[in-house]
């Protein structure tokens, strides 16, 4: 291990260093602006350094900075950047200090990035825990009743699920003698292996990962945490934390060749279908926007798993594209929620949005665009994403799953439309919508997201090409 080996890790190191600097900064002088700018700069620099990563990509057996990882890290960094921007507006003028928030944000971003680059269960586990532990604090950050409740729930359940995950890894390790993904497949094919234990290990890993991804039946925490957490953190939970985990899952299951285990395939399929139905049905008549988005994210992960299950050339591209679209959409939707949230509470009741089109037409349009994207309506990235997923599913002849997806899309549509209708209805009496002026940065971010959303919806070719290039290895 030489210094040269560390070169590919520069992006991750930039993030880590930024967080440490902010922490040190607190010791001397607290400055919102400084820490905020440093955070943004750190993420930006890390993002830029991604393009400089060359040479040996495998850094010890723990991490690999291949194109796939770089792409996902880029995605995670971009999302964190947006969240950081949104939260600076959100936390402005609150009692809480903001500096710790940035530290935790950077750390969790780091954790997620580590996940995307992991090739080893150790890095997987530690990345996951960095992410989780930071999230515990982030979720409870403003320390009001809902925050705390959400934090406690997330902590208890995440820790329990980590235990499941660990136990699963232990079983896998015990059976194969390695924790490296790439070596695990050869360990698996060794003689005299206890296949039952192996599968149990897989199942337990799936349980742990499934919890993080918030797929049914490990989804129950999602709405509560989404509702309880501050809006930008919710956006973070919904995007960055899931993105990293999904990237890892994809890498892992491709390397161990999940398709060799039909029963494992069946379990994931079950999870996919259950997630779609649970998410959509739970959201059906829900009255809290954050909870609706939570349930919807459950369903979306279910859709994603369909593509995940598909084999063939399309799998990685489809999953990645969908994730990008999902990131943009989710960030946009929570961005709107963040923008409208007051100091007292987040703008999360559906009534808060009644008649939004009247007094904030642009915001309403952006929100509608996001919702349409979630629903997979053309002109939005969500459409191409859904198309890709169905394509991947159809390409592997997973017809049953595709049909389930189709049915669920229709159910999902119902509640997206419900919100959209409210947006354009006669204005109601809600204090939330009376927020005087919108912060500039947030607005810019939202506009940017919307433009991206539409651009990807109309001309996705460049991104598709890029994803294809980046993920060619798989």
């Amino acid at each position: 291990m030489t210094l040269n080996d560390l070169a590919p890790l520069i992006p991750l190191m930039v993030i880590a260093v930024s967080s440490v600097i902010i922490m040190l900064g607190i010791a001397f002088y607290r400055s919102r602006a400084f820490s905020g700018l440093l955070t943004l700069a750190g993420i930006a620099v890390a993002f830029i350094t991604l393009f400089g990563v060359q040479g040996t990509r495998q850094v010890t057996s723990l991490l690999i900075l291949d194109d796939y990882a770089l792409f996902y890290i880029g995605l995670i960094l971009a999302a964190s950047f947006v969240v950081a921007l949104l939260s600076s507006d959100y936390l402005e003028g609150r009692r809480e200090n903001i500096e710790e928030f940035y530290i935790l944000l950077l750390l969790s971003t780091l954790g997620s990035s580590v996940l995307a680059a992991s090739t080893h269960f150790v890095s997987f586990f530690i990345g996951l825990e960095i992410l989780s532990v930071s999230l515990y604090a982030l979720i409870a950050y403003t320390r009001n009743e809902l925050n705390i409740e959400a934090g406690v729930k997330y902590l208890v359940l995440a820790a329990a699920s980590s235990a499941f995950l660990l136990f699963g890894i232990a079983l896998l390790y015990g059976e194969t003698g390695t924790m490296e993904f790439s070596r695990m497949s050869s360990g698996i094919s060794a003689q005299g292996i206890n296949k039952g234990m192996l599968l149990t290990g897989f199942a337990l890993v799936l349980t742990g990962v499934g919890f993080k991804l918030a797929v049914a039946p490990f989804h129950m925490w999602t709405p509560d945490v989404y509702e309880g957490a501050p809006a930008p953190v919710t956006a973070f939970v919904a995007t960055v934390s899931k993105g990293g985990v999904f990237a890892l899952l994809l890498r892992y299951f491709i390397q161990v060749d999940m398709h060799a285990y039909p029963s494992l395939f069946g379990a994931v399929a079950f999870i996919a279908v259950a997630s779609m139905f649970a998410g959509n049905l739970l959201a059906l008549l829900q009255k809290n926007i954050k909870r609706i988005l939570a349930y919807s994210s459950i369903a979306h992960l279910g859709y994603l798993l369909v593509a995940f299950l598909a084999g063939g050339v399309m799998r990685v591209t489809a999953v990645t594209f969908y994730l990008v679209a999902y990131f943009i959409t989710t960030l946009g939707a929570f961005g709107v929620v963040t923008m409208l949230s007051g100091k007292e509470r987040d703008a999360d009741a559906v009534e808060d949005y009644q008649g939004l089109f009247r007094h904030r037409p642009w915001l309403a349009l952006i929100f509608s665009a996001m919702l349409f994207s979630l629903a997979g309506i053309p002109l939005t990235a969500g459409f191409i994403g859904k198309f890709y997923i169905v394509a991947a599913g159809a390409g592997s002849a997973l017809w049953l799953l595709v049909i389930m997806l189709v049915i669920n899309s229709a159910i999902g549509l119902y509640y997206y439309l419900r919100i959209i209708v409210v947006l354009y209805a006669q204005p109601g009496h809600s204090e939330v919508s009376a927020v005087s002026s919108l912060p500039l940065t947030g607005s810019l971010v939202l506009v940017l997201l919307t433009v991206l959303l539409l651009w990807l919806g109309v001309y996705p070719e460049p991104l598709i090409e890029m994803i294809h290039r980046m993920t060619m290895r798989f």
Binding site: P378, V390, A397, V402, I403, V406, A410, P460, E465
Partner: protein
Amino acid sequence: MILIWLILIPLMGGLLAWLFSRGNDRLPRWISLIALIIDFILVLLLWMQYPERAGLTNRSWLVDINLEWIPRLGISFHLALDGLSLLLVMLTSFLGIMSVAASWTEIKERVGFFHFNLMWSLAGITGVFLSLDLFLFYFFWELMLVPMYFLIALWGHENRISAAVKFFLFTQLSGLLMLAAILGLYFVHARGTGIYTFDYTQLLGTTMGSTEGMLLMLGFLIAFVVKLPAVPFHTWLPDAHTEAPTAGSIILAGLLLKTGAYGLLRFAVPLFPHAALDFTPVAMALAVIGILYGAVLAFGQTDLKRLVAYTSVSHMGFVLLGIFAWNELALQGAVIQIICHGISTGALFIIVGALQERIHTRDMERMGGLWTSAPRMGGVGLLFGLASLGLPGLGNFVGEFLVLIGAYTVSIPMTAIAATGLVFATVYSLWMIQRTFFGPREVYLKVPDLNMREMTVMAFMVAVIVWIGLYPQPVINTAKGALNALQKNAGAMTSFGKISYPVSTGADRDTK
């Protein structure tokens, strides 16, 4: 390029209408009207150049434009226009103009946004009629729904929300099934040829297993018959039509339903001729059930708009019948029925809208005797009521009769039962006229008659319906090349829709 303009003009018109709507309600209306008129003139010019108009050639595509879009997936921006598309695009811009004119005074709120939605919906529909890439087709197919949804949900009547949602859910769900089927076809085609493409022209003639073909065909078919709509997928229609504002109803009935028919004609049958052939008995049965059931339902209604809405179910049954009979007569009949139903039902919706604007109800129990004060409205209403019952001399008759003739070769009993639909059509049409315009004048003493604007709109529609009724040949010639090509595509492998005249040929020889 002109094809792109056909779609772009309404898109831009809609945007402009919206942008210039601040504090000005007139400007959006004029912008939309002018944009649509330009669109219409463009199509007319195309038509003038079109040699098939006079039945001269049998060339299939008049204009064809094929741009790269997402080459990685074999998706291209492929638009093309043949006689069938031409007619439907023409209908689109024509009804677009009519719907803008018809809602001139009806819409008072958010006029700009209204026109934006209207125009975008029209653009989407135009796109559907022009796309030759299945992905692009699906893209437009979905795209046209959103503005339509807004039209219903924002400017509709009492139960607009649930109607809009129902409409959207039905069409979306079926659309997604179609997407799955499109992808299935894509992969089946790739499996056979190694070429991944969504291009219609290349996908034609894909070889596939029979079960496979049937399932894929059903995916397409469901999307199209939901739109059409055929029983038992029709229940979104009455709600949506009834609750939509007048312009929305016109576009729904006049154009949106037609996309279903167009899809069947262009895609479902030619792409899967064998499966379609196997499915013919079921499809025709559905058509016949639709004809009768729609008529019975129409008769039972007390809401005037709902009644008109149900008549669509009945009328579109003829289209379905014609398409699945798949011979030249039936197809021509279906095309004419598509156009004439668009116009006659559109006109009826305009009348209902005008009535509602005046007396604020659609309940026929509260109408009656309107002829006295509004004879012009009565006269026009009567005319379109008659068109809807299939009176010869008006366009719908030509369509229905041709369909019946065409269907006769395929199934005599079906034809006979479908023909009884004409009787039921008489029942509900006359009932409608009777309840609204005739009878004692009970409630409304003075109802203003149709004004200049409305009469102008009506005059155009009357002119077209009578013209098609008495001289449909230009329409037939225009569609001919396209229909022949479709038949060739579908019929190359099957015995689909061959008409045989058991006697005539012999008799001809004798007489000559």
